[in-house]
Amino acid sequence: MSVADFLWENNRAKISPRPEYTRSSMRTFAAALLTASLLAQHGRYLSDSKHPSIGNPEAIAAGTKLFMGSCAGCHGPDGGGGARGPNLVRRSLWHPLSDDAIFQVIRKGVPGTDMPPTKLSDEQTWNLVAFIHALTGPASTNPVPGDPASGRAVYWGAKAGCSNCHAIRGQGGRMGPDLSNVGGSRPLAVIREAIVEPAKDLYYLGNEAATVTLKNGQILQGVAKNRSNYSLQLVDTKGILHLIQMNDVKHLTLSASTSMPTDYATRLSKDELRDLLAYLAAQDIRADEREGMRERKASKQ
């Protein structure tokens, strides 16, 4: 678990509840993710998992129906959690479960909690696992709507300006989190949330925008990678690391909100956003392996 994820979980209680529009946009998104676009991408992305239902759009669609009927009541229609069931999407970030483990949880329930055992067939259970994997597994291991090639242009273009702050494989800015593996480490829903609602939570603690004035008069601007009462680790706007003792600091100003622009939901068209997501979903430091797996699978067929 990363520090940021840990902090996120521990700060969750302090965050005001999501406004209603968030929920509905997530629901729309979930619906979009679950139906037409998934089916349209058949065979396009394969997962690391061995079970054939994982990443299979038909299994995911069947699992969707099961989820909406039996699981959404507690876990929310987008897996975002409810009064009785945890947020499956976020949970997967700090405590990922293997597909087999998810299978067992569905089958056996979680004793001592509201999560009951089920009597679904193996096939039904795997369909449900496929859906949960699509919702909570790394974006790169799931079918994703949109065109990554167009998304690349959006990412590197001036309108979105993503690359001003975020690097992919050494290209781009260093102020924001590195995105080389964003698709390999984050569910699509989380990536989307980070783009369209970056200010909603403190997910990027450890990436606070900071301005520091030293006692010798120098002023530095950048991102606080870490800080305490005694020391500050700051990456400046040029991507250079500064190790600072708080004894040498006259004044430190931290931004209460994210440095990420908050207007992407309106700045980008629906198509641009979808394509950008497809491009980001494909950013995976182990993409070459899925490439190989796809070839092996194709040669077997």
């Binding site: 678990m1 990363s2 520090v3 690391d48 690097a167 494989r169 050494g170 260093r174 590195d178 080389s180 593996n181 390999g184 030293l214 006692k215 010798n216 120098q218 990678k225 870490n226 305490s228 009462n229 005694y230 020391s231 680790q233 990456v235 991507g239 250079i240 690391l241 500064h242 190790l243 600072i244 003792q245 708080m246 004894n247 040498d248 600091v249 006259k250 004044h251 430190l252 100003t253 931290l254 931004s255 209460a256 430091i285 182990r286 070459d288």
Partner: protein, 531 residues
């Protein structure tokens, strides 16, 4: 105010700097830029704030608990106030003054676990390898990925454990996994983009020179290169050791010397071409990998000035070779009890004693499978002109199985146990190969920790009982000790930030940093505004 200004100036200038050949080649100073601190494998630092006189005042400065770590093997590197340490498939950048995390990089989807011995640094990139053979390059300031390149297939049994060595823009890596039947290799990749530049196998292909020293199992010969080596910039030569032949204990199926296993290889940095080799244990039957540091020292041997390479081997002997030609110069006994050979002949070949091979019932042989020494970091101190080696006086049982060898199935053709024994830190004279002093340790022979020595005349070593100890480098007198509370598997280093010397070492689960006691100045709560 002056102090603050000066300090700050130093760190900013440092931040703009890039690690160059000159930086690494000059050896350790404030920084510690390669696994062994110097290309020559000395684990020596010119720092001298901590001396034999004041070592009694050493106190812990900070500790960083590496998340989820168990059995750390990593020796830190230091550049401009940042300490980089690895765990399995992960790297941590830590503020070397405060112990606070700067960034971390992890690849939890790697196809294998296992140990990792450390990172390397070149220009503005930090390098390490994943257990499933990716070379990963990260921005040293932010931890952002620059590239990752797969250089071998873990599905074929090859894994990666050692810290890469970077020399003149080439990242040198080697293969681990020699106990399950693989063909070992050493490889150079471009520090800029990970492109493969050359690959030298440690076992010849069928028909090549040396293949006559094998039978049918040559394709699975082993000879893993699981520990980084040393480098002589003047000769442009890499010195790399190779592991055991496979199957480890059943040698009937691989008659001959089994080149180039249990050997030291001298490779041209530019081409990977083998300049010479020296095999310490021909036709090894005891899993005595040659993985121990080839230490490059210019010294007088038998009245003649030599560019020597010193090598304390698992098989029980301490060797000196000419590192230009590979000529055997001398071998002496590293440990007291050696039962498998009565000595080494004048060509450097051991003279085996009868009945010392593994048997179905088990054969009691000294040294044990763990060896008279192993990959623990040794130190050479030019001030005392002594080489410090952790040795193990231990014997063990060796078993042979006549089962059909099965490559890539974790099959080793038998097994071995080790019993009792004692770790003794020994100071050896490179001129004569003789012991000058020794420091015996309490414990069960379970440590893998090593040493670092300094111009301050102090030798730091982990001991076999979980302590970090400071000894007088001249005579081995104990000066200071600290109970780390865990078995030690990693070697200490030393560095300096803001004019203060530190000694850092990883325990099983955490990184500790030590320095001389000084009264702590109270810190006013910082003025922080959040808006």
């Amino acid at each position: 105010m002056t102090r603050i200004t000066l300090l700050y100036f130093t760190l900013v200038l440092g931040a703009l700097a890039q690690v160059s050949h000159k930086d690494v080649a000059k050896g350790a100073d404030e920084d510690w830029l390669t696994y062994a601190g110097t290309y020559s494998g000395w684990r020596y630092s010119p720092l001298k704030q901590i001396t034999a006189d004041n070592a009694r005042n050493i106190v812990p400065k900070w500790v960083y608990h590496v998340p989820g770590a168990r059995g750390l093997r990593s020796s830190p590197i230091i550049y401009r106030g940042v300490l980089y340490i690895t765990n399995t498939n992960s790297v941590y950048a830590i503020d070397a003054r405060s112990g606070r995390l700067v960034w971390q990089y992890a690849d939890p989807r790697a196809k294998k676990g296992g140990v990792n011995r450390g990172a390397a640094i070149w220009a503005d990139k930090v390098y390490f390898t994943t257990s499933d053979n990716y070379l990963v390059a990260l921005d040293r300031h932010t931890g952002a990925l620059i590239f990752n390149k797969k250089f071998a297939d873990v599905g074929q049994g090859t894994t990666s454990t050692s810290a890469p060595l970077v020399a003149k823009g080439k990242v040198i890596v080697g293969s681990a996994g020699g106990d399950s039947g693989v063909r070992g290799f050493i490889m150079a990749l471009s520090a800029d983009d990970g492109k493969q530049l050359w690959k030298t196998y440690t076992v010849p292909a069928r028909g090549e020179k040396g293949s006559e020293t094998w039978g049918d199992l040559i394709d699975w010969g082993g000879g893993a290169a699981w520990l980084s080596g040393t480098y002589d910039p003047e000769l442009n030569t890499l010195y790399w050791t190779t592991g055991n032949p496979w199957p480890d204990y059943n040698a009937d199926v691989r008659k001959g010397d089994n080149l180039y296993t249990c050997s030291l290889l001298a490779l041209d940095l530019d081409s990977g071409m083998m300049k010479w080799y020296f095999q310490f244990t021909p036709h090894d039957t005891h899993d005595w990998d040659a993985q121990s540091w080839p230490v490059l020292v210019d010294t007088e041997i038998r009245g003649q000035k030599r560019k020597a390479v010193l090598h304390a081997n698992r098989n029980g002997f301490f060797y000196a070779l000419d590192r230009v030609t590979g000529e055997f110069l001398r071998a002496t006994q590293l440990i007291d009890k050696i039962t498998w050979a009565k000595g080494v002949d004048d060509k450097g070949r051991p003279i085996p004693l009868p009945n010392s091979d593994p048997t179905p019932e088990g054969n009691w042989v000294c040294p044990s499978v763990k060896g008279a020494t192993n990959w623990m970091g040794q130190s050479y101190n030019p001030g005392t002109a002594l080489l410090y080696v952790l040795t193990l006086e231990q014997c063990g049982m060796y078993y042979r199985s006549s089962q059909e060898p099965q490559p890539m199935k974790n099959f080793s053709g038998g097994g071995a146990t080790e019993e009792g024994g004692q770790v003794i830190l020994r100071a050896l004279d490179p001129k004569t190969g003789k012991r000058v002093w020794e420091y015996p340790m309490t414990g069960l022979g379970r440590m893998w920790t090593g040493t670092v020595s300094t111009a301050g005349g102090v030798l730091f070593s982990g001991d076999d009982d979980g302590h970090l100890v400071a000894l007088d480098a001249k005579n081995g007198k104990n000066l200071w000790h600290f109970n780390m509370g865990e078995t030690l598997g990693a070697s200490p280093i030393t560095y300096s930030v803001d004019g203060k010397q530190y000694v850092a070492i990883a325990s099983s689960t955490a990184v500790f940093s030590f320095g001389l006691f000084e009264p702590v100045i109270g810190v006013e709560p910082p003025v922080i505004q959040i808006k």
